[in-house]
Symmetry: C2
């Protein structure tokens, strides 16, 4: 029900996801007054679509407190209840992140030893996407929490990509003595965990060279890294658009658009909330139809590969 | 003597700066074995060039401790001594930042009430460059220190651009309740200083829209913001280069190169070290000839406009 594009974008994304994946079944959580949109998007009597009615929608600026107070009957709560009851295997939402985290934690519970969910998302790099966590759900974390991020991220990336990620710890220099105490202490903890492929410190510019597959950091720094990349990509493509004129514009358009599509972090959509006992994917508020479909595809992938059980195993093993 | 391009790049930059500014006089600090390079670059008997001999060069990985121990006679120390003695009005160096800060602080002293220098640099945005401080010289700062950054940055940008900058505080959300305590406390302090044009919190993606002229943040976040933008710009232009082929490549080359030139943060060169009692400019280690020349031009501008006295006045007034 949420997201900048409104219900229509989510429904277009749902249609796209259903077309792309013949085994996918979707439960659409929608309020009564929007149900005519289901007809318009051909989703009213789709054989693989079920509808779960919601009484209300939490506004985009509803944070954790308001979600916990007024969540009952909201599309977000109904969506998560579908997963809690076992009716559905994963939840996807473009709503407020804090609301999603708070309700997810309350309704699905947390994995053993994890206090708060961490948010992970992909950044474009010179080679393949690089996963980064945390992205703002946790600020001012200690070294132990950074180790947890590494463990959660390691398992999530391994499950979705099939390969153990090379892990870097975001820092302001590569040398071992650089950076805050908490980051240096986290380096010792992550390095000591033999299941993790720890590469060392990574500076923000090297993230985009694809030196590592997973970047671990405090939520404040991760948020700056992700949003800074979004802003830079958007600025450059806006400038390119203005710079290219006449035949050049015409010739370059398709290639530039294709590249923008590949590189815009806002289109690498689908940020898993890790640590919750269930597959929960945050879709970017500004995601387009295709972005929303890719968040659904990621949810399906993680659910099929049993991400939650894998994470629980990894966390038990680390005790 | 330092920087990735070595002495030759610095000397080419010096030539360029002398050509562009007929009133500029330069003291080149150089070791004996490199003096033949002066001849090669036509700087050996230039009417506006003086040479100050250095006995050694601190390596690029020499940090603060090593610089303080072994600095004597080094090109970096000799350069700063020229300013300390009043022989020169400003210093420019592409050497190690920590070494430059430590020696700058020792040889030139600090402005009233300032403990450690802050490093400021410009990022490209949709409109004009946006200044950001701190960039890694200070990590884990308190709210009072963020206020100082705002005061230093305000004066430095006003002196070099002639206009009072709109100031934003880097945060992970725009709403007043968002982010760490220290950032929210700093917002109150900066907002209470009537000389500062405080706009509010700014998220990393909005920095590149040119919403503000000056971004204040902890050195860790600033470093991630600046280097992240550098990495993103480099990655995109590498991909564009590979994507454009045949006539398109030929047609687009000049425009793409010109845009890269404008947008690469590594070429917006010249980062003032603020808080030191003297004009000291850090040139990017990877700066090209033109980048080095622009760092020199910035040093000249700040010296001519009496930045240090202006900063001292502003700091006295804020007591």
């Amino acid at each position: 029900m949420s997201g900048d594009g409104g219900v229509a974008t989510a429904l277009q994304g749902a249609s796209g996801a259903l077309e792309a994946d013949p085994d996918l079944r979707l439960t659409l959580v929608i309020t009564h007054e929007h149900r005519d949109l289901l007809v318009r998007h051909g989703l009213d009597d789709h054989p693989r679509v079920r509808v779960a009615p919601a009484r209300s929608t939490l506004p985009m600026d509803a944070g954790a407190a308001r979600a916990l107070r007024n969540g009952s009957g909201s599309s977000l709560q109904v969506c998560l209840e579908q997963v809690a009851s076992g009716a559905d295997a994963a939840a996807v939402s473009a709503g407020n992140t804090a609301a999603l985290m708070a309700l997810g934690r309350q309704l699905l519970g947390m994995l053993p030893g994890i206090e708060r969910p961490a948010l992970m998302a992909a950044l474009p790099s010179a080679t393949r996407p690089v996963w980064v966590l945390d992205l703002g759900a946790n600020i001012g974390v200690n070294a132990q929490r950074l180790l947890e991020f590494a463990q959660l991220g390691h398992t999530a990336v391994r499950v979705s990509s099939g390969r153990s990620p090379r892990i870097g710890l975001l820092n302001i220099g590569r040398e071992p003595g650089k950076g805050p105490d908490v980051v240096r202490e986290a380096a010792r903890l992550i390095d000591a965990d033999s299941r993790l492929d720890y590469v060392g410190f990574v500076e923000a510019d090297r993230v985009f060279e694809g030196e590592v597959d997973l970047v671990v950091c405090d939520g404040f720094a991760g948020n700056v890294l992700l949003k800074g990349a979004e802003g830079t990509v958007r600025m450059i493509f806006d400038r390119l658009e203005r710079e290219f004129r006449g035949p050049l514009r015409w010739l370059a358009r398709r290639r530039v658009e294709r590249l923008y599509d590949k590189l815009d972090p806002a289109r690498h959509n689908g940020a898993p909330l890790l640590g919750i006992d269930g597959v929960v994917i945050k879709s970017h508020g500004g995601a387009c139809r295709r972005g929303f479909a890719s968040a659904i595809a990621l949810a399906a992938l993680e659910a099929r590969r049993g991400l939650t059980a894998e994470l629980a195993d990894a966390l038990w093993a680390s005790d």
